[in-house]
């Protein structure tokens, strides 16, 4: 039994990172129906900015504070400066732009920081662990990852539910024209949405920095995050969270008890299964119009 609990705990920890990435994708998808393929590399860029600031002698909170702030402006800037200016403003062309941005960011990080793996020193060792029972352990970093994912989802929930800005965002994505008629500046709202999404992605990347950093560190989390978002229905924040946890747990149980070789493809097999049985995902509410 302790083995099972250990695997589930490990899965929740891994799933927390996937969930954060999934939420960052969902926030943008809800607002503009664009899948932001540059999400991982935007987070990568800001994580490396924190690394650079630490090398310049700044303290950990200040370096990460700056990088979080930068990530917000990076997201907002991409929406305002690039996507909004696209001549062919279709969803597909916007997604192509995000693929291009992904390449640019990864090239920028590779050029500036090289290919050698790097790491950021936190005040605690990411490998020290808490003993939760006989033969059940949870590393400090895993515990923090789980906690952070929960705090982010609760904050986002409260933000969208109770703050005027959050409600305006919700209104803009539900009916842009009506929101505009009600005096909401929907373009500005979209820009802020990109900023918030970028910030959530950066939080996920920050949780990986005490392990190893390299220019391709966000590929896997983004892929799994995308799988989690699809599983959750692409438009549901709780769905993205639960999707992330599900992928993490199933991967760990599958790897632990069945096959390590096929562990990596489980997430994608799950997507196939869910899309066949419930095309709108597990938690999405897609409205069907009568014609």
């Amino acid at each position: 039994m302790s083995q099972f609990i250990q695997l589930v705990l490990n899965g929740i920890a891994a799933g927390s990172i996937y969930a954060l990435m999934a939420m960052s994708l969902v926030i943008i998808y809800q607002a503009s129906a664009v899948v932001n393929f540059a999400q991982g590399e935007m987070a990568l860029l800001t994580a490396y900015l924190a690394f650079l600031l630490l090398e310049q002698g700044l303290t950990l909170p200040v370096a990460f504070g700056f990088s979080f702030l930068f990530s917000f402006f990076l997201g907002a800037g991409i929406e305002f400066g690039i996507l909004r200016r696209a001549r062919e403003s279709t969803v597909i062309s916007k997604m192509m732009i995000t693929i291009g941005l992904e390449m640019v960011f990864i090239g920028l990080v590779s050029w500036k920081f090289g290919a050698d793996p790097k790491t950021i020193d936190f005040p605690f060792s990411p490998y020290d662990s808490l003993m939760l029972g006989q033969d059940i352990f949870l590393s400090f970093l895993e515990a923090i990852s789980i906690l952070v994912a929960l705090v982010v989802v609760i904050t986002l929930y409260l933000f969208f539910r109770f703050t005027p800005l959050g409600i305006a965002m919700k209104a803009s994505r539900q009916n842009e024209r009506a929101a505009r008629l009600m005096g909401i500046r929907t373009k500005r709202i979209l820009m802020i949405t990109w900023g918030i999404s970028s910030l959530v992605g950066t939080i996920a990347a920050s949780l990986l920095t005490p392990l190893t950093m390299h220019p391709y560190m966000m590929w896997n989390p983004l892929l799994k995050g995308f799988a989690a978002a699809v599983l959750g229905g692409m438009t549901s924040l709780p769905g993205a969270l639960i999707g992330g946890y599900m992928i993490g747990i199933i991967e760990n149980l599958f790897g632990g008890y069945l096959s390590i070789e096929f562990k990596e493809v489980v997430a994608f097999a799950m997507i196939l299964l869910v899309l066949c049985l419930r095309p709108s995902g597990l938690f999405a509410h897609h409205y069907v119009k009568k014609v």
Binding site: L7, G107, T212, M217, N252
Partner: protein
Amino acid sequence: MKKLLVFWSLFLWTLCGVPLNLMAEEGVTKTKIHIGSWGAQTGPGAPWGAVVRGMDAYFRMINEEGGIHGRKIIFHSFDDGYNPARTLAGVKQLQEGQGMFAYVGGLGTATGMAVVDYLMERKIPRIGPGTASIRWVNPPKRYIFTNYAPYLYEARMLIRYAVERLGKRRIVVIYQNDEYGRGGLRGAQKELQVHQLSLVDAIPVELRDTDMRPHVFRMKQKKADLVLLWVSPSHAIRILGSSKAIRFQPRWLTTSTVSDCSFMYKLSKGLFEGVISAAFVENPMSNSHPLVQKYKKAYQKYAAKNERWGVFYLAGFGFAEPFIEGLKRAGKDLSRESLITAMEEIRNFKGIFAETTYKPFDSLDPRSRQGTDSVFLIECLKDGISKQLTPWIKVQ
């Protein structure tokens, strides 16, 4: 009329790109030798890309010393991203564009496999592949010369040490699920057979997988007392970290590709202390080895600002050493065949790699092209200092 004919003949000749020195070998002029190579500078294999940059510094150093028999080496390398399709495309571009005399180094087993037929069909030499696959020499190929003991041998040496010196019996191999990793796995299995033992488990790691927890969990379940790591540096650190987190602490052994002790120690926040690895190149931190000192000066002179001096940068010099020795021996009248003959005459050549010897080509004797079968073992101590555990040992 005659003058006009000569003029137009020369004009057409030049237009068609036919070199005027027709008798020279492809890629060789009176003053230059064009050499090709490849290695990932981006993607998951990029941490090993320092080999190519080290090689570039080595050739610059050679050129500054006057070149070889009055010829400078023009080094052409490209980033294949550890992707075999890109390797083949890049080599074709170099060969059918500029025309290379030979290829030196070249990182990756799968990437090298993608171009081996192309190069061998055209009788283009490849010296010092930057990967220790047994496939380069088994069966031997007339135009490939290696100076890196195969992974199979490295793994045998490590397992021998584990069984005979450390007294370990419950051994697990965790390996990258490709030709590189399987080379280590095969070596471990072979050596255990000699000791009438077998592996407790062999666990594959996919290159893009970042969650090593299930792998570590399985090792813990199997109660392994020693784990042989045959993975990338990033995976090695994640495995050590996940193991510490679940308080599973066996003895760790690893391959030469993860042997950069000071770097691994820093990156793993000290977890690399006590890890034993195979080594194929002299210690880059050595203050007593004259060649290491000389190459370090070249690094200081030619390396980019943020380049790190470590095992793989230094290895770039080592992979190219036999080629330079072969060029020196081949003399002024350089051709591919004269290079091959000169390479075959190299005996007990010692640079920063193990002593290297080649023989005249024998399709049944891998050692005619496998220059060495020696490695030594090091242990990573506190603060990333490496301690040599054994001298260079020939693995039989």
